[in-house]
Protein backbone atom coordinates (compact mmCIF):
# COMPACT_ATOMS: atom_id res chain seq x y z
CA UNK A 1 0.00 0.00 0.00
CA UNK A 2 1.14 3.49 -0.50
CA UNK A 3 1.17 6.50 1.65
CA UNK A 4 -0.58 9.64 0.62
CA UNK A 5 1.67 12.39 -0.55
CA UNK A 6 2.07 15.48 1.45
CA UNK A 7 4.41 18.40 1.33
CA UNK A 8 6.32 19.88 4.19
CA UNK A 9 8.04 23.18 4.19
CA UNK A 10 11.77 22.92 4.48
CA UNK A 11 13.01 24.39 7.72
CA UNK A 12 16.46 25.05 9.02
CA UNK A 13 15.62 23.52 12.36
CA UNK A 14 14.51 19.92 12.74
CA UNK A 15 10.78 19.66 13.00
CA UNK A 16 8.64 16.59 13.46
CA UNK A 17 6.60 15.92 10.39
CA UNK A 18 3.06 14.87 10.06
CA UNK A 19 1.99 11.30 10.17
CA UNK A 20 1.11 9.80 6.82
CA UNK A 21 -2.47 8.71 6.59
CA UNK A 22 -2.99 5.16 5.39
CA UNK A 23 -4.86 5.21 2.12
CA UNK A 24 -7.00 2.29 3.14
CA UNK A 25 -9.10 5.01 4.71
CA UNK A 26 -10.86 6.10 1.54
CA UNK A 27 -11.04 9.74 0.71
CA UNK A 28 -14.41 10.90 -0.50
CA UNK A 29 -13.56 14.53 -0.92
CA UNK A 30 -10.85 16.29 -2.89
CA UNK A 31 -10.38 18.26 0.30
CA UNK A 32 -8.31 16.04 2.53
CA UNK A 33 -4.84 17.52 2.89
CA UNK A 34 -3.17 18.26 6.18
CA UNK A 35 -5.34 20.92 7.84
CA UNK A 36 -3.65 24.25 8.45
CA UNK A 37 -6.39 26.77 9.30
CA UNK A 38 -9.72 26.73 11.12
CA UNK A 39 -12.36 29.33 10.41
CA UNK A 40 -15.61 29.80 12.36
CA UNK A 41 -17.31 32.93 10.99
CA UNK A 42 -19.89 33.22 13.75
CA UNK A 43 -17.19 33.34 16.40
CA UNK A 44 -14.76 35.40 14.29
CA UNK A 45 -12.31 32.54 14.70
CA UNK A 46 -9.39 32.28 12.28
CA UNK A 47 -6.82 30.03 13.91
CA UNK A 48 -3.72 28.17 12.86
CA UNK A 49 -4.05 24.39 13.09
CA UNK A 50 -1.09 22.48 14.49
CA UNK A 51 -0.71 18.68 14.30
CA UNK A 52 -0.91 16.98 17.68
CA UNK A 53 -0.26 13.52 19.04
CA UNK A 54 -0.75 12.34 22.59
CA UNK A 55 0.81 13.28 25.91
CA UNK A 56 2.62 10.94 28.26
CA UNK A 57 -0.66 10.06 29.95
CA UNK A 58 -2.30 9.16 26.65
CA UNK A 59 -4.40 12.31 26.30
CA UNK A 60 -4.59 14.31 23.13
CA UNK A 61 -1.91 17.01 23.00
CA UNK A 62 -2.94 20.63 22.68
CA UNK A 63 -0.99 23.63 21.40
CA UNK A 64 0.97 25.76 23.84
CA UNK A 65 -0.58 28.87 22.38
CA UNK A 66 -4.14 29.65 23.38
CA UNK A 67 -4.76 31.23 19.98
CA UNK A 68 -3.87 28.13 17.96
CA UNK A 69 -5.84 24.92 17.70
CA UNK A 70 -4.56 21.34 17.51
CA UNK A 71 -5.58 18.61 15.08
CA UNK A 72 -5.25 15.01 16.28
CA UNK A 73 -2.86 13.73 13.64
CA UNK A 74 -3.29 10.05 14.51
CA UNK A 75 -6.92 10.24 13.42
CA UNK A 76 -8.54 11.27 10.17
CA UNK A 77 -7.85 14.50 8.40
CA UNK A 78 -10.79 16.85 7.97
CA UNK A 79 -12.49 15.72 4.76
CA UNK A 80 -11.51 12.08 5.09
CA UNK A 81 -13.93 9.37 6.02
CA UNK A 82 -13.81 9.06 9.76
CA UNK A 83 -13.52 11.59 12.53
CA UNK A 84 -11.14 14.51 12.54
CA UNK A 85 -10.68 16.13 15.93
CA UNK A 86 -9.55 19.68 16.62
CA UNK A 87 -9.04 20.97 20.15
CA UNK A 88 -8.42 24.46 21.45
CA UNK A 89 -8.04 26.26 24.75
CA UNK A 90 -11.02 27.78 26.51
CA UNK A 91 -8.83 30.15 28.49
CA UNK A 92 -5.28 31.19 29.23
CA UNK A 93 -3.03 31.23 32.28
CA UNK A 94 -4.14 34.73 33.21
CA UNK A 95 -7.80 34.08 32.67
CA UNK A 96 -7.90 35.56 29.20
CA UNK A 97 -10.13 33.99 26.57
CA UNK A 98 -8.74 31.08 24.59
CA UNK A 99 -9.49 30.39 20.96
CA UNK A 100 -12.50 28.25 21.89
CA UNK A 101 -13.80 30.45 24.72
CA UNK A 102 -17.06 30.97 22.86
CA UNK A 103 -17.36 27.49 21.40
CA UNK A 104 -20.37 26.78 23.61
CA UNK A 105 -22.36 29.37 21.70
CA UNK A 106 -21.96 27.47 18.43
CA UNK A 107 -25.38 26.07 17.54
CA UNK A 108 -26.48 23.44 15.02
CA UNK A 109 -26.41 24.86 11.53
CA UNK A 110 -23.35 27.02 12.10
CA UNK A 111 -20.63 26.77 9.47
CA UNK A 112 -17.02 25.76 10.07
CA UNK A 113 -14.28 26.07 7.46
CA UNK A 114 -11.02 24.17 7.34
CA UNK A 115 -8.21 25.01 4.93
CA UNK A 116 -5.76 22.27 4.03
CA UNK A 117 -2.10 22.51 3.06
CA UNK A 118 -3.00 22.64 -0.61
CA UNK A 119 -5.22 25.69 -0.15
CA UNK A 120 -8.48 23.76 -0.46
CA UNK A 121 -11.23 24.78 1.90
CA UNK A 122 -13.79 22.32 3.20
CA UNK A 123 -17.02 23.42 4.83
CA UNK A 124 -18.59 21.64 7.78
CA UNK A 125 -21.98 22.14 9.40
CA UNK A 126 -22.50 21.87 13.13
CA UNK A 127 -24.91 19.05 13.96
CA UNK A 128 -24.83 18.92 17.71
CA UNK A 129 -22.85 19.70 20.81
CA UNK A 130 -22.54 17.72 24.02
CA UNK A 131 -20.76 17.92 27.33
CA UNK A 132 -18.83 14.91 28.61
CA UNK A 133 -16.91 14.02 31.71
CA UNK A 134 -13.20 14.56 31.31
CA UNK A 135 -12.58 10.82 31.73
CA UNK A 136 -15.21 9.59 29.26
CA UNK A 137 -14.50 6.77 26.76
CA UNK A 138 -13.56 8.78 23.70
CA UNK A 139 -13.91 6.13 21.03
CA UNK A 140 -17.09 7.64 19.60
CA UNK A 141 -15.60 11.11 19.71
CA UNK A 142 -12.30 10.24 18.03
CA UNK A 143 -12.89 7.11 15.99
CA UNK A 144 -16.37 7.07 14.43
CA UNK A 145 -16.14 5.88 10.86
CA UNK A 146 -19.74 6.40 9.80
CA UNK A 147 -19.25 9.68 8.00
CA UNK A 148 -16.92 12.57 7.42
CA UNK A 149 -16.92 14.20 10.80
CA UNK A 150 -15.17 17.12 12.40
CA UNK A 151 -15.32 17.37 16.18
CA UNK A 152 -14.18 20.44 18.09
CA UNK A 153 -13.24 20.06 21.75
CA UNK A 154 -12.58 22.44 24.58
CA UNK A 155 -12.81 22.51 28.36
CA UNK A 156 -15.98 23.16 30.32
CA UNK A 157 -17.33 22.70 33.81
CA UNK A 158 -15.68 23.42 37.14
CA UNK A 159 -11.98 23.46 37.88
CA UNK A 160 -10.85 20.29 39.64
CA UNK A 161 -8.12 21.41 41.99
CA UNK A 162 -6.94 17.85 42.59
CA UNK A 163 -6.64 16.81 38.96
CA UNK A 164 -5.67 20.30 37.83
CA UNK A 165 -8.10 20.23 34.94
CA UNK A 166 -11.68 21.12 34.18
CA UNK A 167 -14.22 18.43 34.99
CA UNK A 168 -16.02 18.49 31.65
CA UNK A 169 -15.30 18.70 27.95
CA UNK A 170 -17.50 20.35 25.37
CA UNK A 171 -17.61 18.57 22.03
CA UNK A 172 -19.12 20.23 18.97
CA UNK A 173 -20.00 17.69 16.29
CA UNK A 174 -19.94 18.77 12.65
CA UNK A 175 -20.19 16.97 9.33
CA UNK A 176 -18.70 17.76 5.94
CA UNK A 177 -21.09 19.77 3.80
CA UNK A 178 -21.95 17.84 0.62
Amino acid sequence: MGISKEVHAQAPTPTPSLAPIPDSVPSISPFHGVPVRLMIPLLHTNATILPMGVTEDGSMQVPDSITDVGWYKLGARPGQTGTAVIAGHVDGKNGEDGVFAQLKSLKPGAAIGVEDAFGNIGAFIVKDSKTYDQSVDTSKIFASQDGTHLNLITCEGAWDQTKQTYTKRLVVFADLMR
Partner: protein, 401 residues
Protein backbone atom coordinates in the same frame (compact mmCIF):
# COMPACT_ATOMS: atom_id res chain seq x y z
CA UNK B 1 37.35 -63.04 0.72
CA UNK B 2 35.55 -59.80 0.12
CA UNK B 3 37.62 -56.75 -0.61
CA UNK B 4 37.26 -53.74 1.72
CA UNK B 5 35.63 -51.77 -1.12
CA UNK B 6 32.96 -54.40 -1.59
CA UNK B 7 32.36 -54.50 2.17
CA UNK B 8 31.73 -50.77 2.24
CA UNK B 9 29.36 -51.14 -0.72
CA UNK B 10 27.43 -53.80 1.18
CA UNK B 11 27.24 -51.59 4.27
CA UNK B 12 26.13 -48.52 2.33
CA UNK B 13 22.37 -48.94 3.04
CA UNK B 14 23.13 -49.25 6.75
CA UNK B 15 25.32 -46.18 6.68
CA UNK B 16 22.66 -44.19 4.83
CA UNK B 17 19.99 -45.36 7.28
CA UNK B 18 22.16 -44.34 10.19
CA UNK B 19 22.96 -40.96 8.70
CA UNK B 20 19.37 -40.12 7.88
CA UNK B 21 17.90 -41.40 11.13
CA UNK B 22 20.59 -40.20 13.46
CA UNK B 23 20.86 -36.77 12.00
CA UNK B 24 24.22 -37.23 10.30
CA UNK B 25 22.82 -36.00 7.00
CA UNK B 26 21.05 -32.99 8.42
CA UNK B 27 22.15 -29.73 6.90
CA UNK B 28 24.48 -27.64 9.02
CA UNK B 29 22.70 -25.48 11.56
CA UNK B 30 23.33 -21.87 10.75
CA UNK B 31 23.10 -19.26 13.44
CA UNK B 32 22.73 -15.55 12.92
CA UNK B 33 21.69 -12.94 15.41
CA UNK B 34 20.16 -9.56 14.78
CA UNK B 35 22.24 -6.86 16.44
CA UNK B 36 20.66 -4.40 18.79
CA UNK B 37 20.11 -1.01 17.22
CA UNK B 38 19.68 0.83 20.49
CA UNK B 39 18.48 4.35 19.92
CA UNK B 40 18.87 3.91 16.15
CA UNK B 41 15.87 1.61 16.12
CA UNK B 42 13.40 4.38 15.26
CA UNK B 43 15.49 5.69 12.37
CA UNK B 44 14.93 5.03 8.69
CA UNK B 45 17.94 7.03 7.60
CA UNK B 46 21.21 7.89 9.32
CA UNK B 47 23.97 9.73 7.50
CA UNK B 48 27.40 10.91 8.53
CA UNK B 49 27.51 14.09 6.49
CA UNK B 50 24.17 14.87 4.84
CA UNK B 51 20.91 13.56 3.49
CA UNK B 52 20.02 14.74 0.01
CA UNK B 53 16.63 14.11 -1.52
CA UNK B 54 15.24 14.65 -4.98
CA UNK B 55 11.65 13.94 -5.95
CA UNK B 56 8.76 12.60 -3.91
CA UNK B 57 10.08 10.35 -1.19
CA UNK B 58 8.42 8.56 1.70
CA UNK B 59 10.39 7.87 4.86
CA UNK B 60 8.51 6.12 7.62
CA UNK B 61 10.83 6.72 10.55
CA UNK B 62 13.33 9.23 11.86
CA UNK B 63 16.18 10.80 9.92
CA UNK B 64 19.47 11.50 11.63
CA UNK B 65 22.63 13.26 10.53
CA UNK B 66 25.72 12.92 12.70
CA UNK B 67 28.26 14.40 12.93
CA UNK B 68 27.30 16.54 9.92
CA UNK B 69 28.23 20.20 9.92
CA UNK B 70 26.27 23.27 10.91
CA UNK B 71 22.59 22.50 10.30
CA UNK B 72 20.79 22.14 8.04
CA UNK B 73 22.56 19.07 6.68
CA UNK B 74 19.57 17.91 4.66
CA UNK B 75 18.11 19.17 1.43
CA UNK B 76 15.09 18.46 -0.72
CA UNK B 77 12.76 17.57 2.15
CA UNK B 78 9.98 19.76 0.81
CA UNK B 79 8.80 16.71 -1.11
CA UNK B 80 9.38 14.14 1.62
CA UNK B 81 6.56 12.48 3.52
CA UNK B 82 8.24 11.87 6.81
CA UNK B 83 6.78 9.61 9.46
CA UNK B 84 9.35 10.52 12.07
CA UNK B 85 11.55 13.40 13.06
CA UNK B 86 14.71 14.91 11.62
CA UNK B 87 17.60 14.97 14.07
CA UNK B 88 20.21 17.14 12.46
CA UNK B 89 23.56 17.12 14.25
CA UNK B 90 21.90 16.97 17.64
CA UNK B 91 22.44 14.72 20.62
CA UNK B 92 19.80 12.25 19.47
CA UNK B 93 21.50 11.92 16.09
CA UNK B 94 24.87 11.46 17.79
CA UNK B 95 23.44 8.69 19.94
CA UNK B 96 21.83 6.98 16.97
CA UNK B 97 25.05 7.18 14.98
CA UNK B 98 26.95 5.66 17.90
CA UNK B 99 24.44 2.85 18.21
CA UNK B 100 24.62 2.31 14.46
CA UNK B 101 28.35 1.76 14.91
CA UNK B 102 27.73 -0.74 17.69
CA UNK B 103 25.37 -2.69 15.48
CA UNK B 104 27.92 -2.57 12.65
CA UNK B 105 30.54 -4.05 14.95
CA UNK B 106 28.12 -6.73 16.14
CA UNK B 107 27.55 -7.76 12.53
CA UNK B 108 31.30 -7.77 11.88
CA UNK B 109 31.82 -10.14 14.78
CA UNK B 110 29.59 -12.85 13.40
CA UNK B 111 31.35 -15.62 11.52
CA UNK B 112 30.39 -16.65 8.01
CA UNK B 113 28.18 -19.67 7.60
CA UNK B 114 28.65 -19.44 3.85
CA UNK B 115 31.64 -17.62 2.38
CA UNK B 116 31.51 -17.02 -1.36
CA UNK B 117 35.09 -15.74 -1.27
CA UNK B 118 36.82 -12.89 -3.05
CA UNK B 119 34.24 -12.53 -5.75
CA UNK B 120 31.30 -10.30 -6.56
CA UNK B 121 28.37 -12.53 -5.70
CA UNK B 122 25.11 -12.02 -7.55
CA UNK B 123 22.36 -13.13 -5.19
CA UNK B 124 19.73 -13.25 -7.95
CA UNK B 125 18.09 -16.64 -8.23
CA UNK B 126 19.40 -17.86 -4.90
CA UNK B 127 17.12 -19.44 -2.31
CA UNK B 128 18.81 -18.94 1.02
CA UNK B 129 18.06 -20.31 4.45
CA UNK B 130 18.89 -18.13 7.46
CA UNK B 131 22.53 -17.59 8.24
CA UNK B 132 25.54 -15.35 7.72
CA UNK B 133 26.63 -15.00 4.09
CA UNK B 134 29.94 -13.40 3.17
CA UNK B 135 31.45 -12.20 -0.08
CA UNK B 136 33.88 -9.61 -1.38
CA UNK B 137 30.89 -7.70 -2.71
CA UNK B 138 27.21 -8.43 -3.19
CA UNK B 139 25.23 -7.76 -6.33
CA UNK B 140 21.51 -8.25 -6.88
CA UNK B 141 20.24 -8.35 -10.45
CA UNK B 142 17.03 -10.35 -9.97
CA UNK B 143 15.00 -12.06 -7.30
CA UNK B 144 16.62 -13.27 -4.08
CA UNK B 145 14.46 -15.64 -2.06
CA UNK B 146 14.91 -15.82 1.69
CA UNK B 147 13.50 -19.05 3.02
CA UNK B 148 12.72 -19.03 6.72
CA UNK B 149 10.27 -18.09 9.42
CA UNK B 150 9.32 -14.78 11.03
CA UNK B 151 12.12 -14.86 13.58
CA UNK B 152 14.89 -16.19 11.35
CA UNK B 153 17.83 -13.95 10.60
CA UNK B 154 19.83 -13.37 7.42
CA UNK B 155 23.06 -11.41 7.48
CA UNK B 156 24.97 -10.48 4.31
CA UNK B 157 28.51 -9.35 5.00
CA UNK B 158 30.36 -7.76 2.14
CA UNK B 159 34.04 -6.89 2.27
CA UNK B 160 33.30 -3.87 0.14
CA UNK B 161 30.03 -2.89 -1.52
CA UNK B 162 26.40 -3.76 -2.08
CA UNK B 163 24.82 -2.99 -5.44
CA UNK B 164 21.43 -3.69 -6.95
CA UNK B 165 21.06 -3.46 -10.70
CA UNK B 166 17.87 -3.05 -12.69
CA UNK B 167 14.26 -2.78 -11.65
CA UNK B 168 13.90 -6.55 -11.39
CA UNK B 169 16.22 -6.68 -8.41
CA UNK B 170 14.12 -7.58 -5.41
CA UNK B 171 13.89 -9.82 -2.37
CA UNK B 172 11.01 -12.15 -1.51
CA UNK B 173 10.35 -14.29 1.55
CA UNK B 174 9.15 -17.85 1.46
CA UNK B 175 8.03 -18.98 4.87
CA UNK B 176 7.06 -15.73 6.50
CA UNK B 177 10.44 -14.09 6.89
CA UNK B 178 10.68 -10.57 8.22
CA UNK B 179 12.52 -7.61 6.74
CA UNK B 180 13.47 -6.63 10.28
CA UNK B 181 15.72 -9.63 10.44
CA UNK B 182 17.71 -9.00 7.26
CA UNK B 183 21.01 -7.15 7.58
CA UNK B 184 23.49 -5.81 5.04
CA UNK B 185 27.00 -5.17 6.35
CA UNK B 186 28.69 -2.89 3.85
CA UNK B 187 32.18 -1.53 4.57
CA UNK B 188 32.06 0.90 1.63
CA UNK B 189 28.99 2.00 -0.33
CA UNK B 190 25.52 0.62 -0.93
CA UNK B 191 23.82 1.58 -4.19
CA UNK B 192 20.27 0.65 -5.09
CA UNK B 193 19.52 1.00 -8.79
CA UNK B 194 16.48 2.78 -10.18
CA UNK B 195 13.30 0.84 -9.55
CA UNK B 196 14.95 -1.91 -7.56
CA UNK B 197 13.68 -2.99 -4.17
CA UNK B 198 15.53 -4.37 -1.19
CA UNK B 199 14.59 -5.47 2.30
CA UNK B 200 16.58 -5.17 5.47
CA UNK B 201 18.79 -2.77 7.30
CA UNK B 202 21.77 -1.50 5.34
CA UNK B 203 24.64 -0.47 7.60
CA UNK B 204 27.28 1.06 5.39
CA UNK B 205 30.55 2.52 6.57
CA UNK B 206 30.60 5.13 3.83
CA UNK B 207 27.42 6.02 1.98
CA UNK B 208 24.05 4.79 0.78
CA UNK B 209 22.48 5.86 -2.51
CA UNK B 210 18.95 5.05 -3.66
CA UNK B 211 18.41 5.87 -7.34
CA UNK B 212 15.11 6.99 -8.79
CA UNK B 213 12.19 4.99 -7.52
CA UNK B 214 14.20 2.44 -5.58
CA UNK B 215 12.44 1.14 -2.50
CA UNK B 216 13.78 -0.18 0.76
CA UNK B 217 11.75 -2.06 3.32
CA UNK B 218 14.20 -1.40 6.10
CA UNK B 219 16.75 1.25 6.90
CA UNK B 220 19.59 3.08 5.19
CA UNK B 221 22.43 3.86 7.59
CA UNK B 222 25.72 5.44 6.54
CA UNK B 223 28.65 6.20 8.81
CA UNK B 224 30.90 8.80 7.24
CA UNK B 225 29.17 10.19 4.17
CA UNK B 226 25.82 10.91 2.56
CA UNK B 227 22.55 9.13 2.16
CA UNK B 228 21.21 10.15 -1.24
CA UNK B 229 17.55 9.70 -2.09
CA UNK B 230 15.55 10.18 -5.28
CA UNK B 231 11.84 9.51 -5.23
CA UNK B 232 12.12 6.54 -2.90
CA UNK B 233 10.10 4.69 -0.36
CA UNK B 234 11.83 3.68 2.86
CA UNK B 235 9.40 1.86 5.06
CA UNK B 236 9.51 -0.54 7.96
CA UNK B 237 11.89 1.61 9.92
CA UNK B 238 11.57 0.02 13.27
CA UNK B 239 11.67 -3.45 14.65
CA UNK B 240 11.76 -3.64 18.39
CA UNK B 241 11.53 -7.39 18.71
CA UNK B 242 15.08 -8.66 19.02
CA UNK B 243 15.41 -11.65 16.78
CA UNK B 244 17.87 -14.39 17.35
CA UNK B 245 17.29 -17.71 15.80
CA UNK B 246 18.78 -20.74 14.24
CA UNK B 247 17.87 -21.91 10.83
CA UNK B 248 15.73 -24.96 10.33
CA UNK B 249 17.68 -28.17 10.49
CA UNK B 250 17.29 -28.63 6.80
CA UNK B 251 16.98 -26.23 3.94
CA UNK B 252 13.66 -27.59 2.82
CA UNK B 253 10.80 -25.16 2.59
CA UNK B 254 9.19 -24.28 5.85
CA UNK B 255 5.46 -24.13 6.09
CA UNK B 256 4.19 -20.62 5.85
CA UNK B 257 3.79 -18.90 9.17
CA UNK B 258 5.70 -21.33 11.31
CA UNK B 259 6.81 -19.95 14.62
CA UNK B 260 9.87 -20.22 16.77
CA UNK B 261 10.19 -23.24 18.97
CA UNK B 262 8.37 -25.57 16.67
CA UNK B 263 10.94 -28.25 16.19
CA UNK B 264 8.54 -30.86 17.53
CA UNK B 265 4.96 -29.95 16.91
CA UNK B 266 1.88 -31.04 15.14
CA UNK B 267 -0.18 -28.37 13.49
CA UNK B 268 -3.82 -28.41 14.39
CA UNK B 269 -6.62 -27.06 12.32
CA UNK B 270 -6.80 -23.53 13.68
CA UNK B 271 -10.33 -22.28 13.13
CA UNK B 272 -10.13 -19.18 15.31
CA UNK B 273 -10.03 -15.93 13.38
CA UNK B 274 -9.56 -13.24 16.04
CA UNK B 275 -11.48 -10.00 16.12
CA UNK B 276 -9.79 -6.95 17.55
CA UNK B 277 -12.25 -5.51 20.05
CA UNK B 278 -10.51 -2.36 21.13
CA UNK B 279 -7.29 -0.43 21.00
CA UNK B 280 -6.26 2.45 23.18
CA UNK B 281 -3.44 4.93 23.09
CA UNK B 282 -1.56 4.69 26.40
CA UNK B 283 1.27 7.09 25.69
CA UNK B 284 3.13 8.50 22.69
CA UNK B 285 5.06 5.24 22.45
CA UNK B 286 2.59 2.60 23.59
CA UNK B 287 -0.86 1.30 22.75
CA UNK B 288 -3.02 -1.45 24.18
CA UNK B 289 -5.01 -3.93 22.16
CA UNK B 290 -7.47 -6.62 23.12
CA UNK B 291 -9.21 -9.24 21.05
CA UNK B 292 -11.30 -12.39 21.10
CA UNK B 293 -12.94 -14.85 21.00
CA UNK B 294 -11.72 -17.84 22.98
CA UNK B 295 -12.33 -20.96 20.95
CA UNK B 296 -9.88 -23.30 22.60
CA UNK B 297 -6.72 -21.39 21.73
CA UNK B 298 -5.32 -18.70 23.97
CA UNK B 299 -1.98 -18.08 22.27
CA UNK B 300 -1.76 -15.46 19.58
CA UNK B 301 0.74 -13.78 17.31
CA UNK B 302 0.36 -10.02 17.20
CA UNK B 303 1.94 -8.30 14.23
CA UNK B 304 2.12 -4.53 14.04
CA UNK B 305 3.77 -1.76 12.11
CA UNK B 306 3.54 1.74 10.75
CA UNK B 307 1.32 0.82 7.82
CA UNK B 308 -1.17 -1.84 6.84
CA UNK B 309 0.83 -4.76 5.48
CA UNK B 310 4.14 -3.52 6.85
CA UNK B 311 4.35 -5.83 9.83
CA UNK B 312 7.69 -4.75 11.19
CA UNK B 313 7.01 -5.91 14.73
CA UNK B 314 5.67 -9.14 16.10
CA UNK B 315 5.13 -10.66 19.47
CA UNK B 316 3.54 -13.79 20.83
CA UNK B 317 0.94 -13.39 23.55
CA UNK B 318 -0.82 -15.85 25.83
CA UNK B 319 -4.13 -14.23 26.60
CA UNK B 320 -6.38 -11.79 24.87
CA UNK B 321 -4.74 -8.43 25.37
CA UNK B 322 -1.33 -6.86 25.38
CA UNK B 323 0.40 -3.53 25.55
CA UNK B 324 2.73 -2.68 22.69
CA UNK B 325 5.56 -0.50 23.95
CA UNK B 326 8.64 1.29 22.63
CA UNK B 327 6.85 2.34 19.47
CA UNK B 328 7.88 5.31 17.34
CA UNK B 329 6.39 8.28 19.17
CA UNK B 330 3.00 9.47 18.04
CA UNK B 331 2.75 7.37 14.91
CA UNK B 332 -0.27 5.44 13.69
CA UNK B 333 0.23 1.77 14.56
CA UNK B 334 -1.47 -0.94 12.51
CA UNK B 335 -2.19 -4.23 14.25
CA UNK B 336 -3.53 -7.62 13.31
CA UNK B 337 -3.74 -10.80 15.36
CA UNK B 338 -3.77 -14.52 14.58
CA UNK B 339 -4.18 -17.58 16.75
CA UNK B 340 -1.31 -20.02 16.96
CA UNK B 341 -0.87 -23.53 18.30
CA UNK B 342 2.88 -22.90 18.48
CA UNK B 343 3.27 -24.89 15.31
CA UNK B 344 1.31 -22.95 12.77
CA UNK B 345 -0.38 -19.59 12.60
CA UNK B 346 -4.06 -19.26 11.76
CA UNK B 347 -5.81 -16.60 9.76
CA UNK B 348 -5.11 -13.04 10.79
CA UNK B 349 -7.83 -10.69 11.97
CA UNK B 350 -8.71 -7.61 10.01
CA UNK B 351 -6.02 -4.98 10.51
CA UNK B 352 -6.87 -1.92 12.55
CA UNK B 353 -5.15 1.34 13.35
CA UNK B 354 -4.46 1.43 17.05
CA UNK B 355 -4.72 4.27 19.45
CA UNK B 356 -7.19 6.48 17.65
CA UNK B 357 -8.98 7.15 20.91
CA UNK B 358 -6.76 9.18 23.21
CA UNK B 359 -7.88 10.75 26.44
CA UNK B 360 -9.68 14.07 26.32
CA UNK B 361 -7.37 17.04 25.75
CA UNK B 362 -6.64 19.41 28.58
CA UNK B 363 -7.59 22.77 27.14
CA UNK B 364 -7.91 25.02 30.15
CA UNK B 365 -6.00 26.67 32.95
CA UNK B 366 -6.84 27.21 36.60
CA UNK B 367 -9.24 30.14 36.78
CA UNK B 368 -8.02 33.24 38.56
CA UNK B 369 -9.55 34.02 41.93
CA UNK B 370 -12.80 35.99 41.58
CA UNK B 371 -12.92 37.40 45.14
CA UNK B 372 -12.85 41.25 44.82
CA UNK B 373 -9.79 41.86 46.96
CA UNK B 374 -8.77 45.04 45.13
CA UNK B 375 -12.08 46.98 45.48
CA UNK B 376 -12.39 45.98 49.12
CA UNK B 377 -8.87 47.11 49.95
CA UNK B 378 -9.40 50.35 48.04
CA UNK B 379 -12.64 51.01 49.90
CA UNK B 380 -10.91 50.31 53.18
CA UNK B 381 -8.21 52.84 52.41
CA UNK B 382 -10.73 55.52 51.46
CA UNK B 383 -12.76 54.95 54.62
CA UNK B 384 -9.63 55.12 56.75
CA UNK B 385 -8.55 58.34 55.08
CA UNK B 386 -11.98 59.94 55.61
CA UNK B 387 -11.99 58.85 59.24
CA UNK B 388 -8.53 60.35 59.74
CA UNK B 389 -9.47 63.64 58.06
CA UNK B 390 -12.69 63.97 60.09
CA UNK B 391 -10.78 63.34 63.25
CA UNK B 392 -8.17 65.99 62.38
CA UNK B 393 -10.84 68.59 61.49
CA UNK B 394 -12.61 67.96 64.80
CA UNK B 395 -9.32 68.47 66.66
CA UNK B 396 -8.67 71.70 64.75
CA UNK B 397 -12.14 73.09 65.52
CA UNK B 398 -11.76 72.17 69.20
CA UNK B 399 -8.38 73.83 69.34
CA UNK B 400 -9.64 77.13 67.88
CA UNK B 401 -12.41 77.28 70.42
Amino acid sequence: MKTPGKMWFALLPVVIWAMTHMGWLAAPVYAASSPSLGSAVSYSVIAGSAVTNTGTTTISGDVGISPGTTPPNYTGFGSVTLGGTIHDADTQADSAQTDRGTAYSALAAQGCDTDYGAVITDLAGKNLVPGVYCSDAFLLTGTLTLNGGPTDVWIFKAASSLTTTGSTANVVFSGGGNACNVWWYVPSTASLDAGSSLVGTIIADTSVTLATGASLDGRAFAHTAEVTLDGNSITGSTCNIPASASSPESDSNQSSGSVEGDSVCTATDIKTVPIIIDTKRLSPTSVSVNWGPYEGIDTFVVEYGLADGKWDYNTKVTGFSTNLNDLPANQPIWIHVAATDNCAIGQYSAAVVAGNSPGMPDTGFAPKSTFPWLPILSLGLVVSALFFLTHQIKRLVTFKR
